[in-house]
C-alpha cells in the first residue's frame, strides 16, 4: 500500500503518458458534453458576474451573448467543470503533501504576475480560447485558427522570454556554501499524513457536492457529476503530471526542454482520432474565425504566460498548491478576459467576425483533413526535435 501510495499519489507522473491520457480524456469529454474542455470562457463569465455586482449590465454585451451568462457557475457545465478542476487539483496536491503557502519573492515579481495574467487572459479570449480551446482541444476540433494560435503562442513566448530575462526582473542568486537545512523529517511526516487524510476528506465533500446538485435537477445533476468526475480526473492528471504548456512554448527558447512539447503534440494526436469519431457521429465541432484575432491573441497569450510564469490551467493547480503568486495571476486572467468582453464590438468587429470559420474537415474532406492534421503534428514534432539540438551540446570539458 505504501509503495502504491508513493507511486501514484506522491511522485509526479511522467509528462508524456499523462498528456496522452489527457488527450484521450478530452475527446471523451467532447463526445459526452458536446463542448470542449475549456476554462477561460468561464473565467470571463466570473468577470461578468463581478461587473454585474457593480450595477453594470454585462449580460447585454455581445460577447456575453456569445458566451452565455445565465445563472451561477454551479448552473453551467463549464462552471462545474472548472470547480471540479480546482477541487481535483487540491485533492491531488494534498495527497502528495505538497500544499503549503509559498510566498512571492517580491512585489515586483507579483506585479509581473498580474500584468502577465492580464495580457494572457486578454490574448486568450481574443482568440476564443487559451491553450485548451484554441490549442490542445482546438486543434482536435480541426479548426484552422487553433494552428495559427499555436504557432503565434510560440512566437509570443519568445518575446516573453526576452522581457522575462531583462535585468530588472532578475533577482540576485541566493547561494551559500555547503548544504541547506531541510525541514525536520518527523514534523514533515506528520504534516504529510495530515494532508493525506485531508485530501480524502475533500474528495468525500466533493462527491457530496455532486449529489447535492444531482437533487436540484436531473440534467444539472448529470452535468455536475460528469463535470466533477472529469474535473477531478483532469485536475488530478494536471496536478500529478505537472502539465505546463508555458514550459512547452517558453523552453523552446530558453533551455531546449522537449518532454512537455512532445507530450502535448502526442496528446493532441491521441485526441484527434477520438474527436474525429465523435464528429463523424454527429457532434458539431467548435470552429472559430481564422482572423487576425487568432494571431494577435496567440502572440499576446504566449507573451503573457511566460511573463506570468504559468498559463490558464497552470495557475489553477499552482494556486491550489499554495503558490500565492498564481492567485494574483488568476485574478489577472479574469481581468484580461473581461477586458475583451468589454471591447468586443470594436475588437471582434475588426479582427474576428469578418473572417471565415475554417474547418479542415470541410476544406480537405474528412480523410484529407485528418491527414493534414497528422502531418502538421508530425512536422511540429520534428521542429521541436530540431530546435532542441541547438541546446544539447555536451558540456565542453577540455
Amino acid at each position: 500500500m505504501s509503495s502504491l501510495r508513493q507511486q501514484f499519489f506522491v511522485r509526479f507522473w511522467p509528462p508524456i503518458p499523462t498528456l496522452v491520457a489527457l488527450g484521450v480524456a478530452s475527446a471523451y469529454y467532447f463526445a459526452l458534453t458536446g463542448t470542449f474542455w475549456a476554462v477561460t470562457g468561464e473565467f470571463t463569465r466570473w468577470g461578468g458576474h463581478v461587473l454585474a455586482w457593480f450595477g453594470l449590465r454585462p449580460q447585454e454585451w455581445s460577447y456575453f451573448k456569445l458566451l452565455g451568462l445565465q445563472g451561477t457557475p454551479l448552473d453551467r457545465v463549464d462552471g462545474v467543470m472548472v470547480l471540479g478542476m480546482f477541487l481535483g487539483a487540491l485533492c491531488c496536491a494534498l495527497w502528495a503533501g505538497n500544499v503549503g503557502l509559498r510566498r512571492p519573492t517580491s512585489l515586483r515579481r507579483l506585479m509581473q504576475g498580474l500584468m502577465g495574467g492580464i495580457i494572457a487572459g486578454f490574448g486568450a479570449r481574443l482568440a476564443m480560447g487559451c491553450n485548451l480551446a484554441a490549442f490542445f482541444t482546438g486543434i482536435p476540433m480541426f479548426s484552422v485558427h487553433a494552428w495559427a494560435f499555436m504557432f503565434s503562442t510560440v512566437l509570443g513566448a519568445w518575446l516573453g522570454v526576452k522581457i522575462t530575462l531583462l535585468p530588472f526582473l532578475r533577482h540576485s542568486l541566493r547561494v551559500q556554501a555547503g548544504g541547506s537545512t531541510l525541514p525536520d523529517p518527523e514534523a514533515l511526516a506528520q504534516r504529510t499524513e495530515r494532508q493525506w487524510r485531508l485530501g480524502w476528506g475533500l474528495l468525500a465533500l466533493s462527491l457530496a457536492l455532486a449529489a447535492w446538485r444531482f437533487e436540484a435537477s436531473l440534467a444539472l445533476g448529470m452535468a455536475f457529476l460528469f463535470g466533477l468526475a472529469f474535473g477531478l480526473a483532469f485536475g488530478g492528471l494536471i496536478e500529478r503530471g505537472q502539465i505546463c504548456f508555458t514550459s512547452a512554448a517558453r523552453d523552446l527558447w530558453t533551455t531546449g526542454r522537449t518532454k512537455v512539447a512532445y507530450g502535448i503534440l502526442l496528446g493532441m494526436a491521441a485526441a484527434c482520432i477520438g474527436t474525429f469519431a465523435a464528429i463523424r457521429l454527429g457532434v458539431a465541432p467548435k470552429i472559430f474565425w481564422m482572423g487576425p484575432n487568432a494571431v494577435v491573441g496567440g502572440v499576446l497569450f504566449g507573451l503573457g504566460i511566460v511573463l506570468a510564469g504559468g498559463c490558464e490551467t497552470g495557475w489553477m493547480y499552482r494556486a491550489m498548491e499554495g503558490q500565492m503568486h498564481f492567485w494574483v495571476v488568476g485574478v489577472g486572467n479574469v481581468i484580461g478576459g473581461t477586458l475583451v468582453a468589454a471591447f468586443w464590438d470594436e475588437l471582434g468587429g475588426a479582427l474576428a467576425l469578418p473572417y471565415p470559420k475554417l474547418n479542415l474537415l470541410e476544406l480537405f474532406g474528412p480523410v484529407g483533413g485528418l491527414l493534414v492534421t497528422y502531418l502538421g503534428l508530425a512536422l511540429s514534432l520534428a521542429l521541436v526535435a530540431a530546435n532542441a539540438r541547438r541546446f544539447s551540446h555536451a558540456r565542453k570539458t577540455r
Binding site: T255, K259, G310
Partner: protein
C-alpha cells in the same frame, strides 16, 4: 541515503517560479568547477521534472531529486573532465 556527499554550494530558489529556477540553476552550475556538487532547493513543483531535464541536457549529472513536503531538493554534479 544518508551517506551522500556534502554539496559544495547551495542555491536557494524558494518563492521563485519558472523559468527563473531553471535559468538560475544553469547559471550557477556554469560558475562551478568540475567535480563540484550543487544543491538546489525550490518550492516550485514544476521544477521537479524541469531542473533534472535541463541539467542533463546541458551535460550535468543530476544525482538526486527529493520531495520534502512542499520543498524540492536537487543534487547536481559538474562532471569531471575525463568523464565526458
Amino acid at each position: 541515503m544518508n551517506t551522500e556527499r556534502k554539496p559544495d554550494l547551495s542555491l536557494d530558489l524558494r518563492g521563485e517560479h519558472c523559468p527563473y529556477n531553471a535559468i538560475a540553476t544553469l547559471e550557477t552550475l556554469r560558475t562551478m568547477q568540475p567535480g563540484q556538487l550543487l544543491e538546489v532547493v525550490t518550492d516550485c513543483s514544476q521544477s521537479f521534472h524541469g531542473i533534472p531535464e535541463d541539467a542533463t541536457r546541458h551535460g550535468y549529472h543530476c544525482l538526486a531529486v527529493e520531495q520534502h513536503g512542499p520543498l524540492f531538493r536537487f543534487l547536481i554534479e559538474v562532471p569531471a573532465p575525463d568523464a565526458g
